[in-house]
Symmetry: C2
Subunit: 670 residues, 2 copies
């Protein structure tokens, strides 16, 4: 194919293609195939439909764009650059995949302005898109007025075959169809190629029919390579259907334009190579140098940017009108979207004394969530079909459902992984909503990548994980977390809390709400826990603190370190040891990550280095506790799978008794 003269559309599309090709080629690393094939749909979408202002990437009412097939990141960088985002210069494109560049291998929202969510792990992006669309629907239902529309944007997602094979995308699509999120529009880049070759070898299902089964509005563009009008018509039609999400299958050729590599797996994840780049330039009639963009193309792209600035200006007028007509709602809207918390909001959190009834920490969590929901309207969330086990229902609100998007209780169904990514999407809508998602702690295994991505991509999500140890009892080893608390502590930038009682649960929620850009995970008990005399909200903020001690540091014989349900066990053991004349301190360590951040002085005040006799007690793996107990200490924990029996029996059989703690302590005292 030789293109004699290119229309401005072709010119722009090829500009996207060749920036992507050149970026990958210079890096000698990356995925040129997707950008080359998906450039037409991306161009039509951004050129004719997307509402965005490159000069204010954080404009609240912008359309959201997600490249779920994140390996095609050069597509997104090319778009950002060409449409005039300051975050991606031509030099940034040249630095694709290099140390500290603005253009890393996969799109990262925390690196590059204009990227809404971090993608790469397949299927996450489309599920994030469901969360973004949910956030839009919720805010629109809550704040829009018949005469004043404040929130009204679309969420567009480009996803590939890989995304569609992943279970998380099926979960997310099913619940999106149930909710009828009409402003979610997914463009499926149907290019028949995945890394191993033709999708014929492992992916022959009827994707359109499957999405219809989920309740989606489904369209097909048969020639996504050159039929720009068909793409535009399909997006137009998708926008017109407002009670269902839309999936547009756009059939394309991966690596479009490459004479030798188009429609092969070879173009998926490797640079084309110099000769093939040249051949592709010739084939597509692209007579420009690497990284050169013709001025006509730049001029065209800039028009869209200017249009976006106008749209934002109009929206600002709408906001001004809204403020004058609806000052109460406007004040709430602005408070929420600013991310600022009301002064003294945390006064809503209850505190307890030992006289208060012993409750499970999941129950304390329920009390906290409900208290917070009354002062922070931005709190929304729910459970993966365990609402009454996780205790996550907000009394103040009804259920988020089709036609009731203003409600705040979300039923995710038995879809932990999608729940995770949807919560991330809600948080990364960046309009102040604070989502929470709940399941049994053991099922963090079903959603671990989403939890990791919440931490990596700075999404403030609260993960409410109940039934946090073998003490859950009869459900047995498949449901009893052993290694989970430790494994979650391994995830960088995730705060993992295991509160010991009511005060500590309140303390955990205080930190979780106040720590922006950081997810927090609550590991909560099924069983009741006594309220401790020494526990405190303030202690939790330091991660670890002395919860029981009547002795000066230099007098101490022993330190017991516990978390969650085992802190009261430590306190009881300390009493018994004290009765035998030993001087014992009990340290509660509800959040190891926060303790690690304290000053050396504070750490020394809690865990004096000179006191080498230390016992850790946690109903989970001992792995990692060596760091705190040191060479002369001992760890009490569970390093095998649990067992099915009543919770009290299991705890006793596994050694979580005062007598065993006392015995282990004595064993190291010699």
């Amino acid at each position: 194919m030789v293109v004699a003269t290119q229309s401005i559309q072709e010119l722009c599309i090829n500009a996207i293609r060749f920036l992507s090709i050149d970026g990958v080629e210079k890096a000698k690393s990356g995925h040129p195939g997707l950008p080359m094939g998906a450039a037409p749909m991306a161009f039509v979408l951004w050129d004719q439909f997307m509402k965005f202002n490159p000069k204010n990437p954080q404009w609240i009412n912008r359309d959201r764009f997600v490249l779920s097939a994140g390996h095609g990141s050069m597509l997104q960088y090319s778009l950002l650059h060409l449409y005039g985002y300051d975050s991606v210069s031509i030099d940034d494109i040249k630095q694709f995949r290099q140390w500290k560049s603005k253009t890393p291998g996969h799109p990262e929202n925390f690196v590059t302005e204009g990227i809404e969510v971090t993608t790469g792990p397949l299927g996450q992006g489309i599920a994030n898109g469901v969360g973004l669309a949910l956030a839009e629907a919720h805010l629109a239902a809550k704040y829009n007025k018949p005469d004043c529309t404040l929130i009204d944007h679309y969420t567009y997602v480009i996803l590939g075959d890989g995304c569609n094979m992943e279970g998380i995308s099926g979960e997310a699509a099913s619940i999106a169809g149930h909710w009828g999120l009409g402003k979610l529009i997914a463009l499926y880049d149907d290019n028949h190629i995945s890394i191993d070759g033709s999708t014929d070898i492992a992916f022959t299902e009827d994707v359109c029919k499957r999405f219809e089964a989920y309740g989606w509005h489904v369209l097909h563009v048969e020639n996504g390579n050159t039929d720009l009008e068909a793409i535009a018509r399909a997006i137009e039609e998708a926008k017109s259907v407002t009670d269902k999400p839309s999936m547009i299958k756009v059939t394309t050729t991966i690596g479009y334009g490459s004479p030798k590599k188009a429609n092969t797996a070879g173009v998926h994840g490797a640079a084309l190579g110099g000769d093939e780049v040249d051949a592709t330039r010739k084939n597509l009639g692209w007579n420009y140098e690497p990284f050169e963009v013709p001025q006509d193309a730049y001029n065209h792209f800039q028009k869209a940017g200017a249009k976006g600035a106008d749209l934002e200006a109009q929206w600002n007028e709408t906001l001004a009108t809204y403020k004058s007509k609806y000052p109460t709602e406007a004040a709430e809207f602005e408070t929420i979207t600013s991310g600022k918390l009301p002064d003294n909001w945390a006064d809503c959190l209850p505190t307890y004394t030992p006289e208060d009834k012993a409750l499970a920490s999941r129950k304390h969590s329920e009390i906290c969530l409900n208290a917070i929901s009354k002062v922070l309207p931005q709190l929304v969330g729910g459970s993966a079909d365990l609402t009454h086990s996780n205790l996550t229902q907000l009394e103040i609100s009804g259920d988020f459902q089709k036609g009731a998007y203003e409600n705040r209780n979300i039923h995710f169904g038995v879809r932990e992984h999608a729940m995770g990514a949807i919560c991330n999407g809600i948080a990364l809508h960046n309009t102040g909503l604070i989502p929470y998602g709940a399941t049994f702690l053991v099922f963090t295994d079903y959603m671990r990548n989403s939890i990791r991505l919440s931490a990596l991509s700075e999404a403030q999500v609260i993960w409410v994980m109940t039934h946090d140890s073998i003490a859950l009892g009869e459900d047995g080893p498949t449901h009893q977390p052993i290694e989970h608390v430790a494994s979650l502590r391994l995830i960088p930038d995730l705060l993992v809390f295991r509160p010991a009682d009511g005060n500590e649960t309140s303390g955990a929620y205080k930190v979780a709400i106040e720590t922006k850009k950081t997810p927090s995970l609550m590991a909560l008990t099924r069983q009741g826990l006594p309220n401790l005399a020494g526990s405190s909200v303030e202690g939790v903020a330091k991660g670890g603190y002395v919860v029981a001690c009547g002795f000066a540091p230099e007098e101490l014989d022993l330190i017991l370190i516990g978390t969650g349900s085992e802190v009261s066990l430590c306190v009881d053991a300390a009493e018994k040891l004290k009765a035998e004349g030993l001087k014992v301190r009990v340290v509660s360590m509800p959040c190891v990550e926060l303790f690690d951040k304290q000053s050396d002085e504070y750490k020394e005040s809690v865990l004096p280095k000179a006191i080498k006799k230390r016992v850790s007690v946690e109903a989970g793996t001992t792995f990692g506790w060596e760091r705190f107990v040191g060479d002369e200490g001992v760890c009490i924990g569970v390093n095998t799978y649990g067992a099915s029996a009543p919770g009290g029996v299991v705890m006793e059989k596994f050694g979580f008794t005062v007598d065993n703690v006392v015995a282990k302590a004595k064993s190291i005292l010699g």
Copy 2:
């Protein structure tokens, strides 16, 4: 409803129901609703279709039954007891969910004979079923002869709404449809209730249409409560379609028979309570005491058991014929299914010297897999669409596809979670097949529960995980495992290997193949690794060993402990320190779990307690290394997310250089 006289079928179905009700009631814990509703389909299936011999639960050619909705475990225990399995006596039923009982909260294959796979985490069972059906298809294609059919059984799965909401079931169903596994028959207990209430609140997709989209044969039994003939007809029809898996939607009433609780979430996961049990007895005309089974029912159930013994006897005749006609194939079949390995099989594994070319450990893994495939025909496996990145293709065989089930290379598609559960199913077919499943190490996060279940349920699977650190480079933090090796070490009974070179990779595979009932996970590099002078296959079997040291233990100044790609770095650093007059030992620790199992003497010989100056070096989180480096040691690792840049650059920036190891070592030597 009052039942005046019960047919023998009704009697048997009610016997299943009431054993389940009574078991849950006595435990005051469990899930009566599913067994009450699914008893008719289970009875029809076991009574008229299932091929099994209760006196030999391990008969190779038995039909496999999986209760994917594992919370309904009492259904399975009732069936096993009533059909005469010795593993579940009436006293065992009375001990439901008690300490050390044969009837734990969820079905556990390693506790109760007759249970094929451990279920409970939703969706795993149906995906295990795909693995079981794959194993059947593979063995049948490989060993059956036109005149002698050795392997010919069905795999039946009962799954519920929860299983169908989980993404893993969608992944598994999609690939099962692609493969056309005609002898997989799933009965979907469509009871409209999940824990949170009606499925209307979160699950309104068209499940039948979705399965049709996957390429399944789909049937619907509208009245699964009483229309036993319709159930039987549907199973008959499902069996008759041999080129597609079948999904039979069986609409039932959860808690059928309970006047007040049927069709409510209240009967899902809690005992009925005494009054409601009485009312249900009355309602279903069940005039028997708790745990009493009428003799007529026992007699009927026993007939099916006797039939199974006959079937096995016939099959043994077939096997005898097969042996005489096809002695070569029979010998192979018997060797494989016995689980015994040929003598000296491990001679196929290569060894290396420093003169051999530096290769990535993923490449060494490829060499091992191909070598093993030639001497062990039971090795089957593949990748989740990363075959040529994970390097898992077996040259000896073609691809496992519809019509080519004899082949050993499995393309799972981008479906890590289903891959995990399918591999578990293949291993738990218990016919000697050794499956392997591969992806990038970071995506163990997508399949963590399946990996956990491989360890819990004693499935010998080899998990081949490549791109094992930030050294993978440009793909950046979403693809760079930081916490993964440590988090996998936390899983009880999983062997995690991080080999340093060719010899250690061979050593890891030797252990993985020879350790029955135990999964092994390989963490393998993308980048090349020099072959070390001191590495050995034998060393790996001990988990940790001295790989470089010219000094007696008492002389040592320092111990460097490394794993995988960092061992050679330790060796180089040791050389440099030696040049400065320091006496340094290097310990390679390819498998922490195996090292932990060694004698105290051996451990002391490797890591003498007196040598307190220790440095661990691993390109991952330092969490957990404190155990080995102790109070005076230091850990070199990565405790933040990685970065996108060429691998060598990333490694250098994160401190994986000889100079940094040397500097850190000196810092503790003072």
